[in-house]
């Protein structure tokens, strides 16, 4: 082959390698950045007066006087809307029955959308569900709703070869010539004065309980559930893992039995996470019955056996990284093997062991499949520490799935889902970051 071609091949080989690394970094950014920006939206957004009303009524947060003043500010504009509605209602009474029927369903639709925007309208019954008791709490949602109210969405199927095209028709056309026709322009011009959007930091998103299945409120129950499950798993797995690692590194002889134990360890590491879930259900709940049905305890135990191999491996590596001289010096001073392990080797290996522990904690917090059948519920309040033996809990990982795929209003609470994903990713990545930093410090220290 020509030398030039060989050089080109060599260069392109390097380029391919670097590109693949860049591609991985890009993939990380592509996944993390939208989640991050979307998740911020759950905490920092333009909150309307409805948001402040809700906060005051449900959580007792906010300044009552200011809120009442703002409500009074919005009253005249809202009353104008209600006046137009009343005027149209009166007008409908005078119509022919056929014409009235024609308008009635369209009018009902308008009223329904208006109540989503501004809260219950005068003359409506007080709704039972909390989600209908307040109007739009977020300004960007209000703007979407306003658009839906102003325009009717239609689909154009005229070209059978292409997908249907969407187009909009002003809703005012449906009511042309009636009293209601003026409503739409008025809404468009004055919606801001009716809702008074303000930039809001809603830290309560992290610490409030959820209201009406996450339509409003925060995600504290999920955060707490994740915390209980992950810490519970660590309580079981960490001591077991470290002791097993001590056995493997200091006591195990190089024989068939040990190699079987090691094989078992890597087999356990390779078991698909959903199979852990099946095992947890079949063993912890159906066979030894640690609880009557799903519980935090059963979930923690299942997660514990899942992260056990990781902890063992990390602890083994940390112990093996301790310089041999430490051990020899201690033995030469006459201490027993066990004493050497406890007082010399373990303290030296501790940062490394903790690094492995932190990474496993992150894995336990993020894992979903093992807790589906053993610990997670979709809707639930926060549970007390005493309930962990008997009660299931909501958890971030499971509820992200549940809200994104199974929630009845999944499209309307995207901000809550993003917020949850951001919370989960932040927890896991912060844990990993601290592990990485800790490890960097250890390697610096070992180098001297």
């Amino acid at each position: 082959m020509n030398l030039g071609t060989r050089k080109i091949l060599d260069r392109s080989f390097t380029v391919v390698g670097i590109t693949s690394i860049m591609l991985m970094a890009t993939a990380l950014l592509v996944v993390v950045v939208p989640i991050f920006t979307g998740g911020i939206g759950a905490i920092y957004f333009e909150g309307t007066i409805e948001h402040r009303k809700l906060q005051y009524n449900e959580f007792g947060k906010g300044d009552r006087g200011a809120i009442e003043r703002q409500i009074a500010e919005t009253e005249p504009y809202r009353n104008e809307v209600f006046r137009i509605l009343d005027a149209f209602g009166d007008e409908m009474e005078t119509m022919e029955p056929g014409e009235k029927r024609n308008y009635l369903s369209k009018y009902k639709k308008v009223r329904k959308m208006l109540s989503r925007l501004l809260g219950p309208l005068p003359g409506d019954q007080k709704p039972i569900l909390l989600r209908y008791q307040y109007g739009s709490t977020r300004w960007e949602k209000a703007e979407e709703l306003l658009h839906d109210l102003m325009f009717v969405t239609k689909w154009d199927y005229s070209n059978p070869d292409e997908m249907a095209k969407r187009y909009f028709v002003p809703r005012a056309d449906e009511f042309a010539g009636t009293a209601l026709a003026s409503l739409f322009l008025y809404l468009e011009n004055n919606l801001e004065k009716m809702l008074l959007p303000e930039r809001t930091f809603y830290w309560g998103f992290l610490t409030d309980r959820s209201l009406d299945a996450h339509i409003f409120g925060g995600i504290w129950a999920e955060i707490q559930g994740t915390f209980f499950l992950a810490v519970g798993a660590m309580l079981f797995a960490f001591p077991l893992g470290v002791i097993a690692a001590i056995y493997f590194t200091e006591y195990a002889r190089d024989n068939f039995f040990t190699s079987i134990l090691r094989s078992a360890n890597s087999t356990l590491a390779g078991v698909p996470s959903i199979v852990f879930g099946l095992f947890g259900l079949a063993f912890f709940i159906n066979t030894i019955k640690v609880s009557d049905s799903k519980s935090v305890l059963a979930g923690s135990l299942t997660l514990a056996i899942m992260i056990l191999p990781t902890i063992i491996r990390a602890a083994e590596e940390a112990i093996l990284a301790v310089p041999k001289t430490y051990k020899e010096a201690s033995l030469a001073l006459g201490s027993t093997k066990w004493r050497t392990i406890v007082t010399v080797i373990l303290p030296a290996a501790l940062p490394g062991i903790i690094t492995g522990g932190i990474i496993s904690l992150g894995r336990a917090a993020g894992e979903t499949a093992p807790i589906i059948f053993t610990a997670a519920v979709s809707v639930g309040a926060t549970i007390g520490l005493a309930d962990v033996f008997t009660m299931p809990t909501p958890a971030l990982s499971w509820n992200i799935y549940n809200l994104a795929s199974e929630h009845e209003a999944a499209n309307e609470i995207r901000h809550v889902q993003y917020g949850m994903v951001l919370a989960l990713i932040s927890i896991v990545l912060l844990l990993n970051l601290s592990a990485i930093l800790l490890r960097a410090r250890i390697s610096k220290k070992l180098k001297g």
């Binding site: 993939a27 087999t267 390779g270 078991v271 959903i274 990474i359």
Partner: protein, 387 residues
């Protein structure tokens, strides 16, 4: 043993072990080691328990329904009475996303591993490793959320252009490189230097035009594709490949590092370029370790639940045609996760046990591939250490 006399006539017993004490110490040591051994064997016991308890709940299904239907039928109607439990389409779906993700992750992962072990200087490598660790640390449900909420709509609305751009960016450079190499190889018989040069330029030019036309034609075809649903096998394969990547990269990098300097230096000394050294010498030496990495990565993809559950479309049928990655599919893991909620109330029914049968299938598969990869790694270590 002698007693030591300390200042003030006190006698220290520090180095004195009476037979009584010696015996006690020995017993303590025995008990202690026994305890350590018990804890260490705990993992093996857990593995046995997992096999036992999954199998115990899986066997009733095969007793009730036999093997034939499960492995050969595509009719999956577990809720009907009597239900149909044909898992062929589901097994096929699992295989499909696994192969799809391997096709993306294996070349990418191996080239990244080579880059990390041989190409990049140490200072940059330090920053590249945490990226890979972060990629591995992101919870699967977050990937699933990304696939469902962000990527699926994108694929559905702009599927054609995305495919076209991916084709240009990935295939473009490789095809052009192939043109240059082909031009060089085809003219290498020609001995006259100046004639060879003109021939090569012409040949490369002609091949280049053909290649560009080919690239353009395929790109145009891809651009015209309309993706009906963003939750499909392609979406899942892509996301799964990024989840399998960290495993593949780190295990194959270890294996590349294990190939010593001597082999590399020998190859350089014979005049090989870095690419030639890596492809002809290092990769063959590390091949078994890389194979183990690929197996481990594939296992990660086949056992993954949340991404496929959220973003695969969950429709139990074999795509038409069979290689259509733009069709929705359903996998074993997603079926277990999705159907257990309804089947749980009817414990003891075939509907409940069939999920354990699927779990057993996954478990056996992961066990075998784990065993194989472990054997491979051990063998490589033996060969490289010259035993």
């Amino acid at each position: 043993m002698a007693e030591t006399t300390l200042v003030g006539g006190k006698k220290s017993e520090a180095f004195v072990l009476s037979p009584e004490k010696l015996r006690r110490q020995r017993i303590a040591k025995f008990i202690g080691e026994g305890f350590l051994l018990t804890v260490a064997s705990f993992v093996a016991i857990v593995v046995l328990f997992i096999f036992y308890f999954v199998a115990v709940d899986a066997i009733p299904f095969f007793q009730q329904r036999g093997f034939e239907e499960f492995f050969t039928s595509t009719g999956w109607y577990p809720a009907d009475d009597p239900g149909e439990f044909g898992a062929l389409a589901i097994i096929y779906g699992s295989g499909m996303v696994t192969i799809g993700s391997a096709l993306i992750a294996v070349p990418l992962g191996i080239s990244a591993a080579i880059c990390l072990s041989d190409v990049l200087p140490f200072s940059i490598r330090q920053y590249a490793k945490p990226v890979i660790e972060m990629l591995a640390a992101i919870p699967s449900v977050a990937y699933g959320f990304f696939a469902l909420v962000i990527f699926a709509p994108l694929l559905q609305n702009h599927g054609g252009p995305i495919l076209m751009w991916a084709w240009w960016l990935i295939a473009g450079p490789f095809v052009l490189l192939a043109v240059v190499v082909a031009g060089d190889l085809l003219t290498s018989r020609q001995t006259d230097e100046s004639r060879r040069k003109t021939m090569r330029t012409m040949l490369t030019g002609v091949l280049g035009v053909i290649a560009v036309v080919f690239l353009y034609w395929v790109g145009k075809t891809l651009n015209a594709i309309q993706i009906l649903s963003g939750t499909n096998a392609l979406n899942v394969s892509l996301i799964l490949s990024f989840m399998a990547l960290p495993t593949i990269v780190s295990v194959s990098e270890d294996s590349l590092q294990a190939v010593g300097r001597e082999l590399r230096e020998g190859s350089y000394a014979l005049g090989a370029t870095r690419a030639e050294t890596l492809v002809r010498t290092v990769l063959p030496a590390a091949s078994s370790g890389i194979l183990a990495a690929v197996i481990l990565g594939i296992m990660r993809a086949i056992g993954e639940t949340m991404v496929v559950w959220m973003a695969s479309g969950n429709s139990s049928h074999i795509p038409d045609p069979w290689y259509n990655y733009l069709d929705s599919i359903r996998t074993l893991t997603a079926t277990i996760a999705g159907d257990m909620g309804e089947a749980d109330q009817v414990t003891g029914s075939a509907r409940y046990h069939v999920l354990f049968a699927m779990g057993l299938l996954l478990l056996v598969f992961s066990f075998i591939s784990n065993l194989v990869s472990e054997r491979i790694v051990i063998r490589q270590r033996k060969i490289l250490s010259g035993e």
